[in-house]
Subunit: 338 residues, 4 copies
Amino acid sequence: MILILKPQSEQTKIDLLLEQIENQGVSIHFSKGETETIVGLVGDTTHLDEDWLRANDVVADVRRVSEPYKLANRRFHPEDTKIEVAGRIIGEGHFAMIAGPCSVETEEQIICVANAVKKSGAAFLRGGAFKPRTSPYSFQGLEGEGLRLLKIARRETGLPIVTEIMSENQLDDFADVDIIQVGARNMQNFRLLKELGHSRKPILLKRGLSSTMEELFMSAEYILAGGNPNVILCERGIRTFEKMIRNNLDISAVPIIKAKSHLPVIIDPSHAAGIAWMVEPLAKTAVAAGADGLMIEVHNNPAKALCDGAQSLNPEQFDHLMVDIKRRVAFEEKILEG
Amino acid sequence: MILILKPQSEQTKIDLLLEQIENQGVSIHFSKGETETIVGLVGDTTHLDEDWLRANDVVADVRRVSEPYKLANRRFHPEDTKIEVAGRIIGEGHFAMIAGPCSVETEEQIICVANAVKKSGAAFLRGGAFKPRTSPYSFQGLEGEGLRLLKIARRETGLPIVTEIMSENQLDDFADVDIIQVGARNMQNFRLLKELGHSRKPILLKRGLSSTMEELFMSAEYILAGGNPNVILCERGIRTFEKMIRNNLDISAVPIIKAKSHLPVIIDPSHAAGIAWMVEPLAKTAVAAGADGLMIEVHNNPAKALCDGAQSLNPEQFDHLMVDIKRRVAFEEKILEG
Amino acid sequence: MILILKPQSEQTKIDLLLEQIENQGVSIHFSKGETETIVGLVGDTTHLDEDWLRANDVVADVRRVSEPYKLANRRFHPEDTKIEVAGRIIGEGHFAMIAGPCSVETEEQIICVANAVKKSGAAFLRGGAFKPRTSPYSFQGLEGEGLRLLKIARRETGLPIVTEIMSENQLDDFADVDIIQVGARNMQNFRLLKELGHSRKPILLKRGLSSTMEELFMSAEYILAGGNPNVILCERGIRTFEKMIRNNLDISAVPIIKAKSHLPVIIDPSHAAGIAWMVEPLAKTAVAAGADGLMIEVHNNPAKALCDGAQSLNPEQFDHLMVDIKRRVAFEEKILEG
Amino acid sequence: MILILKPQSEQTKIDLLLEQIENQGVSIHFSKGETETIVGLVGDTTHLDEDWLRANDVVADVRRVSEPYKLANRRFHPEDTKIEVAGRIIGEGHFAMIAGPCSVETEEQIICVANAVKKSGAAFLRGGAFKPRTSPYSFQGLEGEGLRLLKIARRETGLPIVTEIMSENQLDDFADVDIIQVGARNMQNFRLLKELGHSRKPILLKRGLSSTMEELFMSAEYILAGGNPNVILCERGIRTFEKMIRNNLDISAVPIIKAKSHLPVIIDPSHAAGIAWMVEPLAKTAVAAGADGLMIEVHNNPAKALCDGAQSLNPEQFDHLMVDIKRRVAFEEKILEG
């Protein structure tokens, strides 16, 4: 960490500050120049509060040099994390395909979609029971009944289920869910993250619409710091100025996550663009970028879907996509082999 | 609402869609052109789902004409909402000054600050007991103990208290809080918003860092739709590309809220910039823009604050600011009188 | 185009407006509802000015339905545009590799890099002679001498050259350049675009850092409308809130350009991230997304480059990348064949 | 400036780099820690190239401590710059009101508006002769004829004129213009900035739609470094995610410019929101924030304006605004006096 001191600061105030810092076990390197004075803080600065430093009278600015995340940091955990879910593996070269409807609507619908995506090769079934909607007047999901139907579909198909939690109150109801999803709008719901840290469930943590990568890693850190090592990151598009599509897939997230963290990363091309025909090209780039999997919305009748129909594939389109994705995953494996 | 139909769509499919729409009590105006066909949907379209329309095969695009918020909408509620809190009024020309530390730290600290801000003319005491922090390693607030100390400070000074809730689980603990704050990161925590709708507590709803005004109104709508009319909006800076300050105060929010909604609006200049010396100029613009009040961080010793010290004023600075703000509020009243 | 009229507007004012619109050869469809009145304008609305409509007393809002670009629009030009440059083709399935240093520095340097990238399979040589730099104190390019050296490198290697123009004054000096690049900061330098429209040179038009796709198409439209059909679009990263990298490659630009326009699109992964190790993963996604080529910075000694060294590959890294990219291009061709 | 070195870098490489840096007259402070090594560079680092440093093998990151702008920097030029234009002063407490139409359209129109704004108290007449328009099909201004009409209006009213230049080619035509405006889209047209630096004309430099404050200062630095000290900065709204208005006025720009630079700053509330009724509230905040003036669009018949009519005031509205603004300016002067 680096402090830039204000010019003409009183030496007694500077000394007092530096003493307080050294008392926190950090060593100090002092570089006094004509127009500026720089103080390098070397050692474990994770617990040093930037705001506290910045509020000091003599401090002009504070720059963090080392990353504030530790458990999510590849530097301290060089091997890829792999996560086992009901006998399936996510990460470490296993490409995971998660598919299913935005919302669970009826028993018939979820079983129909589950059978279809399984047949095409999906390894996990997604479906929303509790839906975060911008408008209180929009369909909010079947809630508990939705969870019940998801489990029926799992029993029918054997596919592990992925579904979104909206509050730490729901943890008991989600005890039997295979992967718990945290939605983009809850990425910084710190109460929820803390409670998920006390669980051992695999957590699919979606990046917030305007979050930086560091904020995503810090949210993962909340879960990891609670003792739960099973965190899967998910990039689902960021808010930009573009008006033709809902969000823009940030494909840079994949190489950054691979470089800076050891956690697996899933791409959600359905939410990224919000348009069905964009799902395929974006899914292709996810494979090329080295993502660990895809999460794709599939609905048996998108035009009648109760939410997000515009971005859902029908089972035929999904099957067609799966054929292509499998070829691409095989191609990437061949490339890796050299 | 307007539908733009795809060119060369099958007439039978179009007819089917239009019939489904009419069944929802909306009337239809059809404009067929050479290159495009436009369908105007006139009537109450609040419950018509854009995603459902957009997913239809024949629909190229959907444009909402009327606002999707009703209860928060000035069009249907032309008078300003005024909110009574412990005998004080927010809105309708009453300028509310809320002040206090980012975090409650000790009994001595909160009482010291409460006395100071009261003496300078603040009408409400703010203080964080539960703190949403990006890092799990940062100070998370005194939690329940913080609430207890806030109430002691209220008893000492008579100032009603404003403090942040982080989960719908905490509602019982907040029963005795005067104004419940919803933080920027929880603006779309819909579970929390719903529960707050079942309360009658005044809610200070902070705008999310990258939220549009419509999203803010829709979050207010969640609370209003639950039956709680006591919503106060708060603008606290938006995320931009600027690196010199933490966030940029969106002063346009004030005239937009006044035009589109009837709810009062408070400006938080402390969080907007994140720098103490920016608080005063931003506070001045809030008064000129017509805001209904300010929320300002004050700490007896900013350099030792456990969070956000860099943006806190000390009591002397706050007193100086209050003198200026009072003159400005009086000036605006004189202007209004003509 | 759609007009939303203000409620309670005077009928005589409405009639006057509609008459003025009809006089411009556009037909009108009127939908009067209880709370809102919608007017559909059907016909060629390209020349109808939104600002003029919006300023009318009775108009609450204006929504464009059809795209404001015509010559760049795939709807009116369904076949892919292909551009011939010195016997090479860009577009229509020909994958173009453009490589070379950020700046031309010396004769030795540009010939060394040109030979290296040619050997690895690049088809075009890029190199900056005139450099747009944020700081007036940064190296501004060799200017005229840089152009001269580029032409020497072309003579030596046979590679056509791509270099950036900064002003319409330079057109004579660029008469012998094979592809003229318009930089991101000049995407809306309309004087320059107009002059380039009067040329027949292939133009590589880079997207502005915060431009929407529509704005990019409109800038292309300036060149096309002048009579120059040889426009190549280039996505080079957009400004976001991310701090770990310089810009974020907007990979969605490729499918959007392919759907909405007929112009070829090149990806510049070097400027997108601004970091050498990100070039390879981003280049891979460009191939998967269906881009028509790549533009990559290569320097014989990145650590001594006079500009943007941090994002340059050395010749060995570039050669390694080219081997990979060629396999990927071949793979995509096989996929296309079915 | 601070370098963060990569862990486990070869000492010989580090030594070589540090030697090269010292040869540029900068002194070095070395702080070696267990996990990171920090190098403080102290002295005049303005000419040290960040990209060159970042490209070095041993460098993990580069952080600038001192600002890269010198001539625009208040630190090296503590007094406010005041600019004299035709006997009027901008800056140093003189509040400048610039008003007029978006485009000059006819002699009658420009004289009519000029007389009106003069009568209400405007000190400068603005009017566009050359118009940067997103679409090649929109009205592009009267060009040379527009300049001629502006000068007629100046002769009639005595108001100095402000008008936008689009290219360094036009400098001769602008020799007789009082203040040359550089539009937001040309803020980084470095060729143009350089040529304006060789002039002594007052330059009104508008901030780009997504530019940071540092980029604005660096563009001013181009003009100042050329020898022209007469630079006026102009904030005109930044691009955000908001859809209800065109751009969001960044009111924080005023205190930041006042703190970091000595140049005067003008606010353009007309372009910021793009809606006439927002001009007044935003103009009020500009006065409160301490801006040195306002630039406001006024048209004798906004509904017939050839461009940007939606954001223009008519002369009556402008007169009403001026009465209010004058009271506010007087109030601020009284406050300053104490």
